[in-house]
Structures are given as structure tokens and as C-alpha cells.
């Protein structure tokens, strides 16, 4: 088991439709491949942590890294873990039209993201907190920062 954290920039701001499509595609594929984790998106800023079997996680990262929807993909960490910290895969962002998103499986408003799980090492928890800060700013309940 390993986990990978990266940050990146969307090539253009992602619309609600695009985010929803990404959420649904990833939910489906990630269940299939035993990938769990969380993705943060705001104003073109992207950060993601995902965990899974090493070979699968590496393949996924390589696929994501060449995805044309974003660029400047910067891997921050890539290391073995002994247990998962996320039960499933979810995505947190501010939809422009929030109605309808609440009911969406795996969707979270940025200020409803739970604190970094206890099972993460202190360094990894700090990393998750920093990427969240980098994506959402000091006040995640505000869509703009």
C-alpha cells in the first residue's frame, strides 16, 4: 500500500459539469481499482491524495500526470503506508450552482472536509493541511481567495 500527494493547475477553470463528470468517472474507476483518497479543487488549483496498491497507484499517477485538463503536476509525496486513511474517494470544491451537488455521492463542500485522519503520520497530516490551505485559502467556506 502506498499513497501519493500532488498539486497541479487546471488548464482552464473547470465548470460544474466538468467537475461532476470528473467526480463520477473517478468514483467509478477508483472503486474498481481499490483507490481511495480525496481531491481538492478551487479556482483552478488542484490537490489530491490517493492511496492504493503500489503498482495501481503508480499507473494512476502516470495517467493523471498526462491528463490534458491540468498541467504543472507536482508530486509532493509518494511513499509506503501500512493502512488506508480514507474509506472511499471524494472530491471537495465550490460548485457555482450548489443545488443538486449535495446529494452527489463523494461530493464535499470544502469547509465540510473532515480534519486530516489520525492514521496519517504527523508529517503527512501537515502536508494535507498545507495543500488544503494552498487550494482553498485560510477560510475554506469562502469560494474566493
Amino acid at each position: 500500500m502506498k499513497h501519493i500527494v500532488y498539486i497541479s493547475r487546471a488548464v482552464h477553470p473547470l465548470s460544474d459539469r466538468e467537475l461532476e463528470r470528473l467526480l463520477q468517472q473517478c468514483r467509478r474507476d477508483n472503486v474498481l481499482h481499490g483507490i481511495t483518497g480525496i481531491l481538492f479543487y478551487s479556482h483552478g488549483n488542484i490537490a489530491q491524495l490517493f492511496e492504493g496498491e503500489p503498482a495501481i497507484a503508480d499507473t494512476l499517477f502516470n495517467r493523471i500526470a498526462v491528463d490534458g485538463r491540468h498541467s504543472h503536476v507536482q508530486k509532493l509525496i509518494d511513499k509506503p503506508i501500512t493502512e488506508r486513511s480514507f474509506a472511499d474517494w471524494s472530491m471537495a470544491f465550490h460548485p457555482i450552482e450548489p443545488q443538486g451537488f449535495a446529494a452527489l455521492q463523494g461530493f464535499l463542500l470544502p469547509h465540510h472536509v473532515p480534519p486530516a485522519p489520525e492514521s496519517l503520520s504527523i508529517a503527512d497530516a501537515l502536508l494535507v493541511d498545507l495543500v488544503r490551505l494552498a487550494v482553498f485559502g485560510a477560510d475554506p467556506s469562502k469560494p474566493a481567495h
Binding site: 509532493l76 508529517a123 503527512d124 502536508l127 485560510a138
Partner: protein, 618 residues
């Protein structure tokens, strides 16, 4: 040999064929292709009556061709086949006379070939060439005015074109042989590389993108960015490469300087025996110096962007992480004292500091962890020693107080016994009377000393005397009233002036103690030749700080340092006058311990002025 069916062939020919017979030029034979021009019903009619869509120009020459027998050809004539037909068509038209047996012209053969397609194409080509010319002109204006040099090379590497900017930049004459000169203008250190790369790109049919130094008209070499792409017409290999040359000298120099600077800073950081690191604006550490890896025993990958927090003592990690996040969010400097784990598992105290530096639009964090373990231990030892000293001091105070207190009772008893002795016993010897007086004096001094000692200890305790707004005038009056017996005994005059600063924030007991000591001193050390005159003045310094002046006309004293006088316990100036030497020491202690200081000016035989600056240290 079968006769060919000529009429049949003629009829189906895709070109129009008709005969115009006799001087009247009547249509004889008309094939199908000609129908579209003159109609299917032309046969037998005079062409003059039935011109169809034939152009006027042709009709005009008919008679002449018939008369002279000279053939006539007209290319791409515009014909309107039917009056109502929307589209005009173009025909190549020919009139060919034919003759009878006597070689006289008997009629004309009219040929019409539809060249509308060719004509349309030709016209398109013409328009295209106009557009091309316009584009060409625009391109030339652009290439010749843009702030970059454009050029074209062929597959052999010959330079086929360079825009005028090239000549302006290099200062070469317009007649210069570009292919020969250009490589010579490239900096010798770059020349081979450039020629090699360009040749390689030409061979592989790809573009290029490299930088090199080109000699400017003034002899200076400037960094240029050269980019070119082949002009491709598949499947042929490219024949021309078109490119642009942009000056990037300043950017390049800047980038070099930055790279050099970065390298120098890292070199510096790597040679310092402290933990040094940098982080991105988002708070991810992107550099740890060598010492960090030496100290922690972890490599840079182990440490990662946030691994440093794992080096902190487990009980301090959460706090350290929280503080870092808060600083990254606010941009405030980071500072804290933490234990950090060394490679051998020992934790040592460090001060971690980080500040954000704005380097242009890029924000970066620069941090250090300084080992303060030894200082930390030393501080702890000092603190322990200080605590012990304070305790010992306190014990000593208590002892002195208790002792002086406990000794006063026996002293009083002694005094009682002595008075009793003097009252009941008679002493005949005058020496004995003197002895008695000396014993009396010694007893009095003994008692005063004990009293002063007790007061000293008490004042030290009273340093926590709460400060309040005091009416200085009132307190001065009270103190003077308490000294009334001495004042009367010496016929002293006292002037009190507090108008300039009637209030003071201070401890009440402390103010009283200071004034009491100074005034009783002034009374005690008065000059034998004149009654004491003591002036007490409360005022504000030019800086607005409160001060008290106590001036007398007494004996005066010798001073080592008027601005910073030293008064020691039991050290007395005038040994012939009774006293314990406690008073001034006390005054100074009180004033200093409340952040003020005492100054003194004195002239022997004339008087002394004490000035108490309540709030300003020496």
C-alpha cells in the same frame, strides 16, 4: 476500309461546330454542342437574324472573314447562350473559311469550345495572386518592423533571406554574403554547437530552438534565441527553414545571475553547521542543507516537504505543525523553541525561525533551526541557582529582621538597666561621667542600627508596595511633621514646592521612606555655622518625567561620580556624626528597583542637592 460516320462524330463532338453557308451566312450544319449557343432551331437561318448567344465582336468580323478568307480566333469570349440564362459562359471561338472547287470562299466553319472552367480557374488564380501580393506586402511589413530578425535557410544551409533587422543588428552591409558571414558573427564558444545543431536539424527535417551569442554592430556579443521550423510539403523533404532570432540577453543574464545566486546561497547554506531550509509560499519545504541531513540522519526524500515536523519531540509536534500552518496562512514569521531529534535519538533544544521573503512575485520561506541546547541547559542551571539564591536571600532577610527585632528587646532592657544604674548610683570620678556618656551614646547607636536594619529588610519586602496616584505635597508635609523634633532642635527652615508636579504614581511607603531618609540626612549633616535650609521641589524634567529635588546648605560631601553615586550599606561620609549609613543606601535601592535613579551634586562646606528621577534609569 469502312467510311467513318463523320456527320455522326461531328454531331457528338463536345465542341460546338456549325457551318455558315454562302454570302448570307446561313446556318447549315449545327451540332448538339452548338445548340447551347445558338439554339436547336438555327439551321437554315441567317446568322444575322439568329445570332443566339454569340458575342457582338464575332458577329462584327463575319463579313470581313468571308471577304478576305482570313481565319479568325477569339479566346475566352463571354457569351450569353440564352437571354434568360443566369450564367454567362466563356468560349474560345474560331471562324475558318472553306472554299468551293474554284477556291472561292463558300462559307465559314464556326467552332466554339467551352472554356468556362479554365476561365474561372484563371480568374481565381488572378485574384489569388492579388491576395498573395497583398499578403506578401503585409508579411514584409511585419517581418521588417517586428523587433526580431527573421530568416530563411535552405536545405544546404545557405541563408536565402534575412530581414533588415539582421543588417541593423550586425551592422553588415546589404551586400554581405549572409551564408559566409553569419557563422563568423557567432561567438567562438557557441559557433560549433550552433552549426552542428542546425545541420542536424536540417538533416532530420525538424526545427530548432537554441541560444547563442551574436556579435552586434558595436562588437558586443549578445545572447539570441534562434527558433526555426521547416516548411513542409509532404511527401517531399523540407526545402526551406524559416526562423526568428530574438535578443534574450537581459533575461539570460538575469537567469544566470539568479542561478549563480541560488548556487552560492546553497553553497553557503551547506557549509553552515545549522539546520537551514527553504519552503515554497505554500509551506512545502523544497530544500534542506547538508547539515540537516547530517543532524537528522535522514535524507531529503525521507524528510520530504513536511518531514521536519516528525523530528520534533512527540509532545511538541502538533503545536509545531499548527503554528506553521498559521504562519503560512498569515505570512507572519515563524518562531518557536522545540526539541529536535538527532540521528542518535537524542533530542536537543532548537530555536526554529522562518521568515517569508518576497523575491519579485515569488514568495519563499527561509528557515533556520539553531541549536540552543547548551544555552537552554545553562539557563536552566542559572534558573535553579537563581531560585536558590533568592530563597537564601529571603532567608537571610528574615534572619536579619528577626535578629534585629529580637535584639531590640535586650537593647531596650540594657538601656533601662543603664538608666536605672545612672539614676541610683553616684559616680564621683569625672572620667566615669565621660564613660557614662559614651555608654549612653553607644547604646543609642546600637538601637538605631537595629532599627535601621529592620527598616531595610522591610523596605526590600515592600518592593511590591502597590503604586497609586499620590499627592506629593501631602506626603512631604506628613514626613516633615514626623521629623518635627529635629526640625525644631536645629531651627531648620523647610520650603516645599510641588506646584510643577503635584502628583506621582508610586508606592506610598516607598515615597515616604525616600523623603524621610533624605530630609533626616539633610538635618543630620547640617552646617554648624548656620541653621539648615532645606528645599523640596517636585517637578517634571524636559522629557516630562517626574523628579524630586532635595537641596540643603549643609556640610556637603566628596563624590566619585555625581551622576551615578554609589551608596553602600554602613559606609558613612561623616564619621564624626552619628548614623548608621543605611539611609542613602536604602534610598538608592528603592528608587532603582522601581526603574529610577538618584543623582547628587555637592560642594564641601556649602551643601548637597539630591535629585530623584522616579522613572528614568541612570
Amino acid at each position: 476500309m469502312p467510311t467513318l460516320p463523320f456527320p455522326q462524330l461531328l454531331r457528338q463532338l463536345p465542341a460546338g461546330v456549325a457551318t455558315l453557308e454562302g454570302p448570307e451566312l446561313r446556318f447549315g450544319f449545327v451540332n448538339e454542342a452548338m445548340y447551347s449557343l445558338v439554339g436547336a432551331d438555327a439551321a437554315g437561318q441567317r446568322i444575322a437574324d439568329h445570332p443566339g448567344g454569340l458575342p457582338q465582336a464575332l458577329l462584327g468580323v463575319l463579313a470581313q472573314v468571308y471577304a478576305t478568307g482570313q481565319p479568325y480566333v477569339a479566346k475566352a469570349c463571354l457569351c450569353t447562350p440564352a437571354p434568360d440564362a443566369a450564367d454567362c459562359r466563356y468560349y474560345d471561338l474560331a471562324l475558318e473559311p472553306y472554299r468551293d472547287e474554284q477556291e472561292r470562299v463558300a462559307g465559314l466553319l464556326l467552332l466554339a469550345i467551352d472554356v468556362s472552367e479554365q476561365e474561372a480557374t484563371r480568374q481565381q488564380a488572378h485574384e489569388l495572386s492579388l491576395v498573395t501580393r497583398r499578403l506578401d506586402a503585409r508579411l514584409r511589413v511585419l517581418t521588417e518592423t517586428a523587433p526580431l530578425i527573421t530568416y530563411t535557410l535552405d536545405a544546404q544551409g545557405r541563408c536565402r533571406y534575412a530581414s533588415p533587422q539582421w543588417y541593423r543588428f550586425t551592422g553588415q552591409p546589404p551586400a554581405a554574403d549572409l551564408t559566409a558571414i553569419w557563422p563568423l558573427l557567432i561567438h567562438p564558444d557557441d559557433r560549433l554547437r550552433v552549426l552542428y545543431e542546425a545541420a542536424a536539424a536540417r538533416r532530420s527535417g525538424t526545427g530548432w530552438n537554441y541560444e547563442y551569442r551574436l556579435r552586434r554592430y558595436d562588437g558586443q556579443y549578445r545572447w539570441m534565441l534562434s527558433r526555426a521550423l521547416p516548411e513542409v510539403h509532404l511527401p517531399d523533404p523540407p526545402v526551406y527553414w524559416h526562423g526568428a532570432l530574438t535578443e534574450v540577453h537581459d533575461q539570460r543574464e538575469l537567469a544566470d545571475a539568479l542561478r549563480r545566486g541560488e548556487a552560492e546561497v546553497r553553497f553557503l547554506a551547506d557549509s553552515i553547521p545549522e539546520l537551514i531550509w527553504t519552503a515554497s509560499a505554500e509551506g512545502f519545504i523544497d530544500y534542506y542543507n547538508h547539515y540537516t541531513t547530517d543532524y537528522s540522519g535522514l535524507n531529503k526524500e525521507d524528510l520530504g516537504p513536511t518531514g521536519w515536523v516528525g523530528l520534533l519531540h512527540p509532545s511538541e509536534q502538533a503545536e509545531g505543525a499548527r503554528r506553521w500552518i498559521a504562519c503560512v496562512a498569515s505570512g507572519e514569521p515563524y518562531e518557536g523553541e522545540y526539541r529536535m531529534r538527532r540521528h542518535d535519538g537524542i533530542y536537543r533544544w532548537h530555536i526554529i525561525r522562518a521568515r517569508q521573503l518576497a523575491d519579485g512575485p515569488v514568495l519563499r520561506w527561509f528557515g533556520t533551526c539553531s541549536d540552543v541546547h547548551d544555552q537552554y541547559l545553562l539557563r536552566q542551571v542559572l534558573q535553579t541557582q537563581y531560585d536558590e539564591l533568592a530563597r537564601a536571600h529571603h532567608d537571610l532577610d528574615t534572619f536579619v529582621y528577626a535578629a534585629s527585632h529580637d535584639l531590640r528587646q535586650p537593647a531596650l532592657n540594657l538601656r533601662g538597666l543603664f538608666d536605672e544604674l545612672r539614676r541610683t548610683a553616684t559616680f564621683a570620678d569625672p572620667d566615669q561621667a565621660q564613660l557614662l556618656a559614651m555608654v549612653d551614646g553607644a547604646l543609642t547607636q546600637f538601637d538605631t542600627t537595629l532599627h535601621d536594619l529592620a527598616v531595610t529588610v522591610q523596605t526590600q519586602r515592600a518592593q511590591q508596595d502597590p503604586a497609586e496616584v499620590l499627592d506629593v505635597g501631602l506626603i512631604l508635609e506628613e514626613v516633615v511633621l514626623g521629623l518635627q523634633p529635629q526640625v525644631l532642635a536645629r531651627q531648620a527652615r523647610l520650603d516645599i514646592d510641588v506646584a510643577a508636579a503635584p502628583g506621582l504614581v508610586y508606592g506610598r511607603a516607598n515615597l515616604r521612606s525616600v523623603v524621610h531618609n533624605l530630609v533626616s540626612n539633610a538635618l543630620k549633616f547640617s552646617h554648624p555655622d548656620r541653621p539648615p535650609h532645606i528645599v523640596l521641589r517636585s517637578y517634571l524634567t524636559p522629557d516630562g518625567e517626574p523628579a524630586l529635588e532635595v537641596r540643603d546648605n549643609g556640610l556637603g560631601m566628596t563624590l566619585t561620580d555625581a551622576r551615578n553615586p554609589v551608596f553602600q550599606l554602613f559606609v558613612r561620609q561623616h564619621t564624626h556624626i552619628e548614623g548608621t549609613g543605611v539611609g542613602l543606601y536604602l534610598v538608592q535601592r528603592i528608587v532603582r528597583s522601581h526603574g529610577g535613579h538618584v543623582e547628587v551634586a555637592s560642594t564641601l562646606g556649602e551643601g548637597t542637592t539630591f535629585t530623584i528621577f522616579w522613572t528614568r534609569p541612570a
